[in-house]
Symmetry: C2
Subunit: 243 residues, 2 copies
DNA sequence: CAGTGGTCTAGACCACATC
DNA sequence: ATGTGGTCTAGACCACTGA
């Protein structure tokens, strides 16, 4: 049925690219359902099997979630599609440190320093918002978090952050800016705690902490958020599986 | 062509399971080529497409590597299929710490302590071999490694380890015991350096280090090796991508 | 040149979810 | 009952490899 075209890139990859573009454009919002494979096959004038390959590739990247009998849904940080997706920190008892207990420390305007500017590919000194908060378990502070959002990508974020104090930054980005975080890069190191960290985490000055510096990328591959997560040695650890 | 059977588990998963079993049994050794899709399709009396799904699933897990025009090969830690697959440590300059420079410290008999025994699912006190070595860059020690292999899974490993001092333990396991490591789990924490570590890494006593405790699993899912990797804070970091 | 994996089609039946 | 994704088949053409 479909016209045979000269080979450029596999059709299913072209379809995938276009579908991603349409998700980014907001045609289907996070949590909503995509057209069925047959509908898309008709729209693109391709066989259902080719559409399937495109969607399966997106599902592998965690961009959409498929449910037999129901449909294909754009992944959202709301709902229970993939909870804890980006949470690799565990407490001493081997339990994931979730976001139920959060203590908001501060939110305020900040300029991107050299490190943040490089990470987010913005000019040094760019305006933005910086927030500090703690994650706790049963009242004990376990993680110190500091994250930066640029004014250019997330205009006017400060008042909303202060008012709503969202437990999930990525859900906040999704709802307010239609920015879907699909990938994060983390760089871990051990170092001594800073004065602020030792005070907030209630640990001795300069005692060993595990620091994760994270850059979160949107569906389009653009760096959106810079963050550091700091946990005291001994009370926290970080888990990873490599296949 | 193929007979229609009552549904139990998808055929392609059954095929995959059987192919994995045959790889484990040594029918095709690491680095060697599997029969073509058509040959396997005939052997299993299934369509080529079903065989393809089975093999593609294995390829996704890194178990085999496919090359158009050549064939499907059992993954080996030799060759250049996936170099640095399990190396997440970087030096201060942002370069992966490779295994070119290695300093062998010691190899000797050891009994599994509680931690190792739990990790490898063997009785506490089981006999085995423990090795300590350093990874260096331009003569500077950057990583301290200590790993344990059980006598039951890797009989008589000590003399060979001492004689060959293999740069890649997993290549050694593959060649000598036909055990293919396909998955590792790592747990990271920050702590102060031990006396031995500070001496070997040439850092102040109790200064912050990043420790990765690793369990390496074979193709069959059995834990095979226990290891810790220790790098000084500031000079080393650990990188990770989450999708 | 023949053989390999990579892509694509057009049909089929299944289990599951929803109404 | 209808529609969804999940599996399976049997053909086809393509680009690449190596003799």
């Amino acid at each position: 049925m479909a016209a045979r075209k000269p080979v450029a890139k596999p059709l299913y990859l072209q379809v995938k690219q276009d579908l991603v573009k349409r998700v980014v454009a907001g045609e289907w919002r996070p949590g909503h359902v995509l057209p069925s494979e047959f509908k898309l096959a008709e729209e693109y004038s391709l066989s259902q099997g080719t559409i399937r390959k495109a969607i399966e590739s997106m599902a592998l990247e965690g961009l959409v979630t498929r449910q037999a009998g129901k449909g294909t849904f754009v992944t959202s940080h709301a709902g229970d599609y993939r909870p804890f997706r980006f949470h690799q920190f565990y407490n001493g008892a081997g339990r994931r440190i979730a976001s139920e207990e959060t203590q908001w420390i501060s939110t305020g305007p900040a300029d991107a320093d050299r490190i943040i500017a490089d990470a987010l590919r913005i000019p040094e000194g760019s305006a933005g918002v910086e927030t500090v908060r703690l994650r706790l378990t049963e009242g004990t502070p376990l993680l110190y978090e500091r994250f930066f959002l640029s004014e250019s990508l997330c205009p006017n974020a400060q008042p909303v952050l202060e008012r709503e104090r969202p437990a999930s930054v990525y859900l906040f980005l999704e709802r307010r800016y239609n920015v879907l975080i699909t990938r994060v890069e983390e760089q871990l190191q051990a170092r001594g705690a800073s004065a602020e960290e030792s005070r907030l985490l209630n640990i001795p000055a300069a005692s060993p902490v595990l620091e994760a510096e994270r850059i979160a990328y949107s569906l389009g591959g653009e760096p959106v958020e810079w963050r550091i997560i700091v946990g005291p040695g001994g009370r926290t650890n970080y888990r990873n599986v490599i296949v």
